[in-house]
Amino acid sequence: MKFQIEDVTVYFPYDYIYPEQYSYMIELKRALDAKGHCLLEMPTGTGKTIALLSLITSYSLSKPQTSIKLIYCTRTVHEMEKTLAELKLLHNYQIKHLGPQARILAIGLSSRKNLCVNPTVLAAENRDSVDAGCRKLTASWVRAMAAENPNVPTCQFFENYERAASAAVLPPGVYTLQDLRVFGKEKGWCPYFLARHMVQFANVVVYSYQYLLDPKVAGIISKEMQKESVVVFDEAHNIDNVCIEALSVSVRRQTLEGATRNLNRISQEIDRFKATDASRLRAEYNRLVEGLALRGNLPITDNWLSNPALPDDILKEAVPGNIRRAEHFLHVLRRLVQYLRGRLDTENVEKESPVSFVASINSHAGIDQKTLKFCYDRLHSLMLTLEITDTDEFLHIQTICDFATLVGTYGRGFSIIIEPFDERMPHIPDPILQLSCHDASLAIKPVFDRFQSVVITSGTLSPIDLYPRLLNFHPVVSRSFTMSLTRDCICPMVLTRGSDQLPVSTKFDMRSDPGVVRNYGKLLLEMVSVVPDGIVCFFVSYSYMDGIINTWNDSGILKEIMQHKLVFIETQDVVETTLALDNYRKACDCGRGAVFFSVARGKVAEGIDFDRHYGRLVIMFGVPFQYTLSKILLARLEYLRDTFQIKEGDFLTFDALRQAAQCVGRVIRSKADYGMMIFADKRYSRHDKRSKLPSWILSHLRDVNLNLSTDMALHIAKEFLRKMAQPYEKIGGSGRKTLLSEEDLEKMGDGGMDEMLY
C-alpha cells in the first residue's frame, strides 16, 4: 500500500498497516523534519523495523536533492540479516511501484570472519585469526614481496578486486551478508573489502552497534559518513551497557604475561630490522615527528582498529619525543607492564580514579599522561613498520596500550578497580585490574554530535525519561506507543506462590530453598502439560540455572517434563546454543513441542525471537537483578547518583525490569500471534517493581492476575489458550480498528485520524 504523510509518499510493502505503525511513522517524520534526535518505544510485535525502514527510505525518495543515508545499527548479526531481508521485501515493492528511480544500494557490513570467501583464511577459528590470516595475504608489504617472488601466497579474491580497481562496484540492490559472499564468489572479488569500499556509496548500511560506538572500530569504518545521515539504534534498551563496555578494559595476570612475550618478540623484530633495514625505523621516526594524522593515507588492508579515543586535533600533534624511537617506546611499555604487575599484587580491593592512577604511574614508572594517551597509535605504527601480520598474537600488548590510552584520555566517568579474587570464589586467587567506564554518554557523544538525526528505539525503553539522562542528549521527539490489540493476545501473570501456597522468589535468602526450587519445577511441569508447542524459561543467571536443572534432574521433575516436551538449554558455548536453538525450532515445527531454558541478560534473551508457535509461554523465574555486590556495579551506581541524581535502588530495579520485559517480550511478533508471560516471583506483585514494566505489558496485567498460585495460573492458562483457539476478526471489532487498509488511511486524511487511533 502507499499513503501520504504530509509531503511524503510512504511505500509500505503490505496490504494493511497497524495504527501504531502509522503513528510511529508520523513521529519519526517529525524528528527527521526537525533534524533532531528521537526516542521511540513501541511494543515488540508491532513491526517497528519495517515501519522505520519504509518511512526513512520513502523520506529520502521524496527528497531526491538531499542524499539521506540510513545507518541502521543492530545488536547482532542475525538481526542484521533479518533487517536486510525486510528491506529487500520493501525494496522490491518500491521498485514495482516507482520503477528504477527507487533503486537503492543497501549492504550489511560485518567482520572478515563473516564475509571472507577465501577458504584458507576461513579455516581459522575465531575472528582475530581470520583477521590475521587475511593480513598475511593482503598486507601491502606482503603484496609487494609477492610481486617480486611468486612463491609468496596472496589472496586471489583481493588481487582480483584490486585489479578491477574502480570497476569493482556493487550494482544497486539489497545485499545480506550471504548475498555479498555469493556476489564476491561469482565475480572473484573480495566481499569484505568490496563492502567496506561500498559503504560510502550505499544508501542504507546495516551493521552492528560497535561499528559506530566502539571508537576503535568507528574510526576506520564510519569516518566517511556524512552529517545528513540518519542513525538508527534498534533494540536499544541496552545501549547504555554497550556504550560502557566499549570503553572498559581489564588487565589480568595472563594479559601481562602475554604482553611481556609480545614485547620480547617486538624487541627481536627491532633488532632484526636494525641489522637489515635500519632506514625503515628512521623513516618512521620522521613520520612521527610530523604527527599521527599522516596515518590516514595507509593502504586499506593495513588499516586496523584505530585509536580508541583521540580527538582529531591530537592526531595532528607530534608524538611525544620519548616514544618516537622504537626502543624507547618499548622501554616505556615494559615499565608500564612492570607497574601494572606490581599493582595486581595486592591483597585488598582497591578503587581509584583515573587521575590519581595516572599520577601514580607518573611517579612510579615515570610515564606522563600525554605519553599514555599516545600508546595505542604508537604501537600500531610500530607494528606496521615492523611488518607484523600475525596480529592475533599481539592482542595482549594491544590491550595494555588500549588501557593506557583510555586512562590517559579520560579524567572522569571512569574508575579503576583492583580485585585480588572473585568474591564468589575467594579461594582462587585471580587478581584483576579493571578500568571501567560508568558514563554511557562518553561513547555515544561523538555519534550525537556528528549525525543530524539519531533514532533510539526498542520495545522496552521504560521509563522513557531515563534514557536521555543516561546518554546525555536532548531528543526532539520522545514517545511511548501502546499496542492496539484485536483481541487480548498477550496474557501476563504474576505468580507469587506455588501450589502449596508458599511464596516463590529468587531473593538471595530464598533462592536455594528446596521448596522454591520444587515449586518452580512443579509450575513448569504443569505448564508443559497444557501449553502447546514451545515454552521458554528464563533464569536469573547461569549458575542458578545449572543448579536448578541439576536439582530437577535429581528429583525426577526433569524426567517428567521430558515426558511432555523435549528440553533444550542455553550454555556458554555459542555453537552449542545455536544448535540447541535450531533443534528447538525444529521440534516446535514438527509438533513435538519443546522447552528452552535460557538466561536473562544472556545472548538468547538479547536477540532471539520466540514468536508464534516457537513460544506460547514465557516463564521468568525470579527478578533478574544484577549481582549487587559487584564492585564495578557499586562504582557505577555511585557515579550515577552523584552525576545524574539517579537513586541506586531505582536504577537496579529499572535495570532488572527492563531485562525481564525484554525476555518476555520476545513471544509476540504480530497481532495474529499470541502468548502468555508468567513472572514467577513474589516481588513482581509489589507496585514499585511492577510499575517499571513497559506500559504495553502493564495494560494487559489485570489485577486478578497479580497474586496467583500455580493452580490458578494453570486455570488461567487453559482458559486463555481455549480463547485464542477461536476464530477472530483480523480487522478488529467494533469501534477501534486494529488493522488499517489504504482506504482507511485516506479517509483519516485530516482530523479523522485521532478518533480512530486514540
Binding site: 548479526v77 531481508a85 552492528s208 515426558q563 523435549l566 538449554i569 555453537v575 552449542e576
Partner: protein
C-alpha cells in the same frame, strides 16, 4: 495383491477354552479351509468367505497366544491359534484384504460413474481407510451404497485424508524415548558394593546415537581389544566419574587408562559435526556469527565480574561435561529420530547398522546451493508479518454455516462434559445403544449437511439432482430420530430430546432453504427459460 492364498499351521478352536485341533489353515479369496493333521479328528472346516463378517486378533506383547477370531454372520466364530505372531499377521492382512474386496464387489455395480478412473492404488487406499475407521465405513455404507452420495462425492470432501495417507505411506517408525538414558539406575544386591546395570539393545542404540565417540570406540575395541562386558564396565565407570562432578579425579583416572579416557573426554566427533551443522542453521538465530562480529569481545575488553558473566574454571575443562550438554544432545537425537531399523538383538549388529546409516546420510550431504537456498527460505519465513498481508490463499469463501456450527457446538459440548465430569454426563447415562445411534446420526447428519450446503448455489443439473437426493435422505432421518426418542426410558426422554433438538434444527434449516430455493427457481424458470436448468 500379492498372493491369492495363504497356508499356515494352526490350531482350530471352537471356544477360547478349547485346547484346539492342530492342523493346516488354507485361505483363498473364496473360502477358508481347515484340515486337521489327524484325519480322524472332527475339526474339519470349510467356510465360504462371504459368510465372514469380521475378524479379531490378539495383540503382540499381550500375554495371550496369537489368536485370530473370525466371526460369521450368524454370530458364530472360528478361533485359530497360530505358532507365532508373524503367521497371525499374514493371515490377518489376508482376511482384511478379502473382506474389503467383498465389500467392494457388492458396491461396484450399484454406483459406477464413468468420470472416475481410479488407479488400483487409490482404490486400495480408500479401502484401507474404510477398514481403519469404522465410523467412516458406516457412513460410506449408509450413503454411498444407498445411492445418496456417489463414491466421488463422498471422497471429494475427504481429499485431505487421501493426500495425507498417500504421503505417509511408509510405515511410521518408532522414535526414541523422551527419557534420558542417564536415567538408567543400577540395581544393587544390597550386600556388597557391586552394582548391576541392565542394558538392553534399545538403550545401547541410544547411547551410540548420542555419543558417537563411544560408538566409534565400540567398533574399534570390541571384541578384538576387550570383551563387550569390559567395554560397558569401563563406560559406566566413566559415567560414574562424571556424575561425581569431580573433574580432577576424572582427569587422574583418564591419565592412567587411555580407553577410559575416551569416555571421559569431550566428544570430538560431536564437535566436528557441530561445525558442519552450524553452517545450515537458520540465519535468524545464528549467534555464532555474532561472535565474529562483536568487537567488545576481544579478550579483556568489556566488563568482567559484573555478575552476569560468570567465570568457568579453565583447568580440567577437557574432562568436564555438563548436564546441559547431555540434555541438549539427547533432545537433538530424539528429534533426529531413529536411523536404524534392524531387529535389536545383537549389539554388534546395532553398532554396525548405525555406522552404515551414518555413512549413507553423510554421502547424501547436500550441496552448498541447497543449503543457502534453505537458509534464505527460512529467513524470509521469519521476516514476513502474517496478518498485515492481504489474503494470499485462493479466493475461496470459507464455509460458514451458523446452524452447522451450532450443531457441532452442542454435540462437542456434551462430549466435552463427559471429560470434565463423568458422573453428570448426559450421553453416558443413556443406554449404550442409544448413545451410539445418536452419535452416528450426528455424524451422518453432518455429512449430509456438508454436502447439502456445499451444493448451493445450484448451477448445474448435476447439483440439482444431488440436492434432491440429499433432501430425501435427510427427510428419512426424522422418523429415525423419533424412534430413538421413543425407545429410551421416560426419565431420559427429556435429555434425549435436548440432544436431538439441534439436529432437528439443522435439518429444518436445510429443508427450509431447499423449499425456498425451489420456489424461487420455479418462479424464475417462468421468466427465464434460458436460465439455470
Amino acid at each position: 495383491m500379492a498372493s491369492t492364498h495363504v497356508t499356515k499351521r494352526a490350531k482350530y478352536k471352537t471356544t477360547i477354552k478349547d485346547p484346539g485341533t492342530p492342523g493346516t489353515l488354507r485361505m483363498t479369496f473364496e473360502k477358508i479351509l481347515f484340515v486337521p493333521h489327524n484325519p480322524k479328528s472332527a475339526g474339519k472346516l470349510d467356510v465360504e468367505f462371504r459368510y465372514i463378517k469380521g475378524q479379531k486378533h490378539t495383540k503382540e506383547g499381550s500375554n495371550k497366544p496369537p489368536w485370530l477370531n473370525l466371526t460369521n454372520n450368524q454370530n458364530g466364530s472360528f478361533i485359530f491359534e497360530f505358532e507365532n505372531y508373524s503367521d497371525l499377521q499374514e493371515c490377518r492382512d489376508f482376511v482384511g484384504k478379502v473382506l474389503a474386496k467383498g465389500g467392494e464387489v457388492s458396491e461396484k455395480p450399484t454406483v459406477s460413474y464413468p468420470d472416475e478412473q481410479l488407479s488400483a492404488a487409490e482404490m486400495e487406499l480408500r479401502i484401507k481407510l474404510l477398514q481403519e475407521d469404522s465410523e467412516l465405513q458406516k457412513l460410506h455404507k449408509q450413503f454411498v451404497l444407498s445411492g445418496v452420495l456417489t463414491e466421488t462425492e463422498f471422497w471429494a470432501t475427504r481429499k485431505k485424508l487421501l493426500d495425507r495417507e498417500v504421503s505417509k505411506k511408509t510405515k511410521q517408525r518408532l522414535g526414541f524415548k523422551s527419557a534420558m538414558i542417564s536415567d538408567i539406575k543400577p540395581s544393587t544386591d544390597g550386600r556388597t558394593n557391586k552394582v548391576t546395570f541392565n542394558l538392553t539393545p534399545e538403550v545401547i542404540l541410544q547411547i551410540f546415537a548420542e555419543k558417537p565417540a563411544v560408538h566409534r570406540a565400540f567398533l574399534s575395541y570390541v571384541p578384538n581389544k576387550m570383551s563387550e562386558r569390559t567395554f560397558w564396565t569401563k563406560y559406566f565407570r566413566a559415567e560414574y566419574l562424571h556424575s561425581t562432578k569431580n573433574s580432577i579425579a576424572a582427569a587422574a583416572e583418564a591419565a592412567e587408562d587411555e580407553e577410559l579416557a575416551v569416555f571421559l573426554k569431550q566428544d570430538d566427533i560431536l564437535a566436528s559435526e557441530a561445525q558442519k551443522k552450524i553452517r545450515r542453521v537458520d540465519p535468524t538465530l545464528d549467534m555464532e556469527a555474532d561472535e565474529g562480529d562483536d568487537y567488545t569481545h576481544l579478550p579483556d575488553h568489556g566488563i568482567f565480574r559484573e555478575g552476569n558473566k560468570e567465570m568457568t574454571e579453565s583447568q580440567n575443562e577437557l574432562y568436564k561435561r555438563s548436564l546441559s550438554q547431555d540434555i541438549n544432545r539427547h533432545a537433538a537425537v530424539v528429534l533426529e529420530g531413529r536411523a536404524v531399523d534392524v531387529e535389536l538383538e545383537d549389539t554388534k549388529a546395532v553398532a554396525e547398522a548405525l555406522a552404515q546409516s551414518k555413512q549413507k546420510s553423510s554421502n547424501k550431504g547436500e550441496s552448498d546451493g541447497d543449503i543457502s537456498r534453505e537458509r534464505l527460505d527460512r529467513l524470509s519465513r521469519m521476516t514476513e508479518i502474517e496478518d498485515l498481508q492481504g489474503p494470499n490463499t485462493l479466493p475461496l469463501a470459507p464455509l460458514c454455516i451458523k446452524v452447522l456450527d451450532a450443531l457441532t457446538n452442542s454435540i462437542s459440548n456434551t462430549k466435552y462434559h463427559i471429560g470434565k465430569n463423568p458422573q453428570e454426563s448426559v450421553l453416558d447415562r443413556l443406554p449404550r445403544k442409544t448413545k451410539e445411534e445418536l452419535l452416528h446420526h450426528w455424524t451422518s447428519i453432518l455429512e449430509l449437511l456438508k454436502h447439502f450446503w456445499a451444493s448451493y448455489p445450484i448451477t448445474t443439473t448435476y447439483l440439482y439432482a444431488k440436492v434432491n437426493r440429499l433432501k430425501d435422505a435427510m427427510s428419512n432421518i426424522y422418523p429415525q430420530l423419533e424412534e430413538i426418542k421413543g425407545s429410551v426410558p421416560s426419565e431420559l426422554r427429556h435429555q434425549v430430546s435436548l440432544l436431538v433438538r439441534p439436529m432437528h434444527q439443522a435439518l429444518d434449516a436445510a429443508i427450509q432453504h431447499y423449499e425456498a430455493s425451489m420456489q424461487k427457481r420455479s418462479a424464475q424458470s417462468g421468466e427465464r427459460p434460458n436460465g439455470y436448468v
